[in-house]
Symmetry: C2
Subunit: 320 residues, 2 copies
Amino acid sequence: MGGDGKARLQEVDRVKRTASQRPSLADVARLAGVSTATVSRVLNDPALVRRETREAVERAVDELGYTPHFGGRALASNRTDTVGAIIPTMENAIFARGLQALQEELTAAGVTLLVSTSNYNAEQEARQINTLLSRNVDGFILIGEARDPEVYARLERRSVPFILVWSWRADCPWTCVGFDNHAAARDVAERVFEFGHRRIGMIAGVCEGNDRALARLNGVRDGLAACGAPLDPRLVVEAPYAIEAGAEAAGRLLSARPRPTAIICGNDVLAAGAMLRCREAGLRVPEDVSITGFDDIDVATLLDPQLATGAPAHPSMRHM
Amino acid sequence: MGGDGKARLQEVDRVKRTASQRPSLADVARLAGVSTATVSRVLNDPALVRRETREAVERAVDELGYTPHFGGRALASNRTDTVGAIIPTMENAIFARGLQALQEELTAAGVTLLVSTSNYNAEQEARQINTLLSRNVDGFILIGEARDPEVYARLERRSVPFILVWSWRADCPWTCVGFDNHAAARDVAERVFEFGHRRIGMIAGVCEGNDRALARLNGVRDGLAACGAPLDPRLVVEAPYAIEAGAEAAGRLLSARPRPTAIICGNDVLAAGAMLRCREAGLRVPEDVSITGFDDIDVATLLDPQLATGAPAHPSMRHM
DNA sequence: ATCTGGATTGCAAGCGCTTACATCGACTAC
DNA sequence: GTAGTCGATGTAAGCGCTTGCAATCCAGAT
């Protein structure tokens, strides 16, 4: 197994290969003096191989700087050790943060994370799912629950497992992890009411294709209705996820007469924008207007005064 | 090409397959009544195929919901239409933003972006590069220039193209895109000096393995030295990328006597933290202390007063 | 001495796709 | 009419790896 004379010859072979091409399983096998099957076993299930043999193979692997060819492996084994995640956007720190954590975890487990973004657009998400499917991902992480049944059907047909993140309902038919946005929003609304506010505005995220935004809006609506102070439709504004949009929405709410005394925002970024605009308008927060956010992202700590935020139901969610 | 009786039989075949497995090129070929080669050509270079044939194939593809098998394609063609990007962290909005843009561009071109993070850790980056190499990415996007020569050697040996982003030097031996951090920082320093500041502190990013942070620190150092007011080493603090760390660093600088009248920060996040701490310490910005940032990220707009920031040399960089 | 069974390894058949090369008509040019 | 072209398609040889199965060897049981 790699005697000296033989080793020389193989050295030559090795040099020849590494010069231009990448080494293959067969090269490793030749160098180690075993069959490709054995090398493969060392790589995938070392326990199947006698220790000496294994060590010889490992040595050869090192020496050649061998790394398995992904395509070959995927073709033969029909798995990719890859999971795909599709998030709305990386610019939302809350998703970026979650991805980061997920990725670290997966990497440690030898799985690669393939990330795509959908820009909060269902059609784009469907396309991304297709792309990832054609890349044979072994599973999916998707945000929220709202999507075309056809998409779910396709996933099931291919029997690719998936889990939904960020939304949660007791009777969700899929595997999902998250908190109950509706309940949390309702909670916020009730608390704002208890604080004495009676004229309350809301800046919601764009609800189309975004069940979280919708759940939060409805939660607030239901909460206030339950308190006997139903949300005035004229005091509801939808705004895309961006500081500037939040500011603009706040501007519209502030021009309502009588002015709302509290503004509930669908997330922290909108809240930040709203706060900015209030400040610009010369209003004091919270003396003149109260503002609440949602998500508790880092950015929020920049604000002065700090945001009151709708806390997720479970502490771990703070890291998602 | 798909007469009626034949179509029936094939329907059966089709159902059988789609029930459990995914359709293959061969299935499409059979349904369309052509060889697999032709189907492949339709998929990869439609111009090679007569229009009628092409349409028949396309119909079959739709009907079966066929998507090519990634592994098979990668194996046969030895490319993956994938580029890998390794960034320090997604939590830095500036990278997240850049990725987002890059990804949109690549997706439009039919290329998939595979993202990994290194946590500003060279060794981790090297590992990630290996992982991506073994996944046969067709190219790399890497941040900055500082890394083990061995890594560059490996990339060249494999002849995988790569480009470096975010750093730029006239005599950088690799392909790089970015702005000259050193020059920009120098510029900031000189401007701060011209503003009349003589006692100037700096909160730099962690320089180890981060050439941008180092270039900025050295730029400031050189700039001030050129003005005849060399940076006092006691007024230099390194801090990791985080608001809290910036605040803490500012705290240390503020306790120096005499207190610096200006603090130059290695990036906007550190600046945000510094500003926060100043405010907490009851100092007015910029009356009592001036603070400058770097990068011009969105977060900065939240601050009151707004940050003076070291603007990148080229407008396009604002999107990186 | 023979048999049984477990441990170790090799053999070889694919996995689904691309692509060089061969084939085949239908034209064009002489 | 014959040869040369060209466009459209098929044939089949892999790409690098995994894995079911068979072969071998050895220890212990009979």
